[in-house]
């Protein structure tokens, strides 16, 4: 015979093992609860992180694109859907001279061929290094030097590493750097100076890509980016641009961010409501299960009472069991949610069509710890009624019931 003692914790373990069906059911409930809370929280943080990155990356207060191309611009920025559209470069000069414009630059868009360099078509963005204020500030976080001709910088979702060659329209370009993930469509873009993008254009043209025929980078641009002077009314400048240019779409960055933030709020609200409802349902279901279980085990508690268990100890046994169930379910739930959210985060981001990027590791770990604490507290909280009921039951009457 083995020498051993049974602590309240070990007694609880024995009880849980005895009612394995009941225990499994309760653990599944706790697992679902924890998976919903953890998964929902991480999804929400991913969206918040994505929006924060998007705000940082846009840089410009106003973007001007050809009329009817606003949705394409948003598709490039949010979903990484490559697109080309152009208007005359001369418009940039007109905008520069408007009152309230602090900085003004333009970009030229191309798209790669299907599966030429990467898994799918990618957006090629050319910027003017002399006037650019939108792309270079965050490129410089990764790449301190001035981007040379023939070199490109790639987004985080392009599967190439720094120092490798990127093949576009039968020509190769040096990958000078790879940017950090933003969670936006810009993660699938390739950046180059306008001189390099002109070479790409010429190579594409030589390859017979006639869709670019009317858009020579010397005379055409895809978008004009404007930073408004501090204190100047953005809406006033928007009006001026519309009046001066005509036939263009003027997009306020803030309104685009606000629109995305509104969508994100709705998704987050849904996630919070779903988690909240699930939390309440789980507490009620767990509570009922614990009360039913306590009723079934009245005689067991009466025996313990005759042997000298205090009312507090009886309540403790139930709370220990509830805590253990919650702990086991909580851990399994977090692991399951992590196995869904992390490997499929790119897919989830695409499906949501919103900026989406994983939060820092510390925040993920913190969320895991908080979820586990919530899960561990929910079990005993749900079991309080059962614990009070059993600890206040009259032992004598229970014994009589049993007989």
């Amino acid at each position: 015979m083995k020498e051993h003692r049974l602590s309240p914790f070990q007694l609880a373990i024995r009880n849980l093992r005895r009612g394995i069906t009941r225990t499994t059911g309760l653990v599944i409930l706790a697992t679902l609860l924890s998976a919903v809370v953890f998964g929902g929280s991480i999804l929400t943080f991913c969206l918040q992180n994505g929006l924060k990155n998007m705000k940082e990356r846009l840089g410009a207060d106003i973007m001007v694109v050809p009329v009817e191309n606003q949705s394409e611009l948003e598709a490039i920025l949010l979903k990484g859907e490559p697109s080309c559209f152009y208007f005359k470069k001369s418009l940039e000069e007109k905008v520069k001279n408007l009152k309230g414009v602090e900085k003004c630059t333009s970009q030229f868009f191309l798209t790669s061929l299907d599966a030429e360099c990467c898994d799918a078509r990618v957006q090629l963005i050319g910027f003017d290094p002399d006037t650019d204020f939108s792309v270079q500030p965050w490129i410089q976080k990764t790449y301190k030097e001035r981007l040379s001709d023939g070199a490109v910088i790639i987004g985080s979702d392009i599967h190439l590493e720094q120092g490798k060659k990127l093949k576009l329209f039968d020509m190769e370009y040096d990958v000078a750097a790879k940017l950090d993930k933003t969670g936006t469509g810009l993660d699938q873009a390739v950046y180059a100076t306008t001189d390099t993008i002109k070479k790409m254009y010429e190579a594409a043209y030589a390859k017979g890509q006639r869709f670019l025929e009317e858009a020579d980078p010397d005379f055409y641009v895809s978008s004009i980016l404007i930073r408004v002077e501090e204190g100047f009314d953005v809406k006033e400048l928007v009006k001026s641009i519309r009046k001066e240019l005509g036939g263009v779409q003027v997009v306020e960055s803030q309104s685009m961010i606000t629109g995305t933030a509104e969508n994100m709020k709705q998704v987050a609200l849904f996630l919070y409501l779903f988690s909240g409802l699930f939390l309440m349902t789980a507490i009620i279901a767990l509570g009922l299960a614990f009360v039913l279980s306590a009723n079934e085990r009245k005689r067991e508690f009466a025996i313990l009472r005759t042997l000298g268990a205090t009312r507090k100890k009886l309540a403790g046994i139930i709370l220990w069991e509830a805590g253990l169930i919650s702990l086991i379910g909580g851990i399994i739930g977090i692991v399951i949610a992590a196995m869904i959210v992390f490997p499929f985060h790119v897919y989830l981001g695409d499906k949501l069509g919103m900026p989406y990027v994983l939060p820092p590791l510390a925040q993920i770990l913190g969320t895991g710890v908080v979820t586990l604490l919530v899960a561990v507290m929910i079990g005993p909280l749900a079991a309080v009624t059962a614990a009070i009921k059993i600890s206040h039951a009259e032992t004598y009457l229970i014994m009589r019931e049993g007989n």
């Binding site: 003692r5 049974l6 005895r18 313990l304 049993g402």
Partner: protein, 219 residues
């Protein structure tokens, strides 16, 4: 060792009022074996539960080893039950998810204290003829064996007072005799035994016999 003064227990109020016990006086000396007989519902079990502190009386006082015990708080009353009183409840009070040995050690785990319960448990199992079942789960035991497990567990704390509620209720003649002889031995070793029973045969083993009728204890 145990003195009960004017003990009464009332259930309900006004028209529904019913006295389960009324004006009970009883003195139990150390090593005395007292049997209480009576019909079902006469108040025998109520009396044992009042003594064990599992029920509060409406009136009266109980002195255990000279100390009034009815005003003890839950912790002190539980500790008294755990360390000085052995209680053999009606039916088979073993926990099915613990082995026989673990069932015996349970009182020690509820109020941890110095000493090694295993040796004592083995000694008692040997005494009741169940040592070979130490690592067996109660579901594998017969009714008589389960009853002996309950008695052995009640003796684990070397109680000053053993309360036994119908300890031979479901047993055959042979098991009944063995258990009554065991109680006699226990009493002879200095533990007071207070047993309530239907069995008239049991009366010959005790030092005193009382009859419980409609909540009143009659010698």
């Amino acid at each position: 060792m145990l003195e009960i003064e004017n003990l009464g227990k009332r259930y309900g109020r006004d028209e529904n009022e019913r006295w389960a016990l009324k004006n009970v006086q009883l003195t139990v000396e150390a090593g005395e074996f007292i049997s209480i007989i009576g019909r079902s519902g006469s108040g025998k079990s109520t009396l044992l539960n009042l003594i064990a502190g599992l029920l509060k009386p409406t009136i009266g006082e109980i002195y255990f080893q000279g100390n009034a015990i009815l005003n003890l708080n839950d912790k002190d009353a539980s500790q008294l039950r755990n360390t000085k009183i052995g209680y053999v409840m009606q039916g088979y009070g073993a926990l099915d998810h613990l082995t026989v040995l673990e069932n015996l050690c349970l009182p020690f785990w509820l109020f941890p204290r110095k000493g090694e319960p295993r040796k004592r448990a083995e000694q008692l199992l040997k005494q009741v003829g169940l040592l070979e079942y130490a690592d067996t789960y109660p579901t594998k035991l017969s009714g008589g064996e389960l009853k002996r497990v309950a008695i052995a567990r009640a003796l684990m704390n070397e109680p000053a007072l053993l309360l036994a509620d119908e300890p031979t209720g479901d047993l055959d003649e042979s098991n009944t005799k063995n258990i009554l002889a065991l109680f006699r031995d226990i009493a002879d070793q200095g533990t007071s035994v207070l047993m309530v029973t239907h069995e008239m045969d049991a009366l010959s083993y005790g030092d005193k016999v009382y009859r419980m009728e409609a909540g009143q204890l009659i010698k």
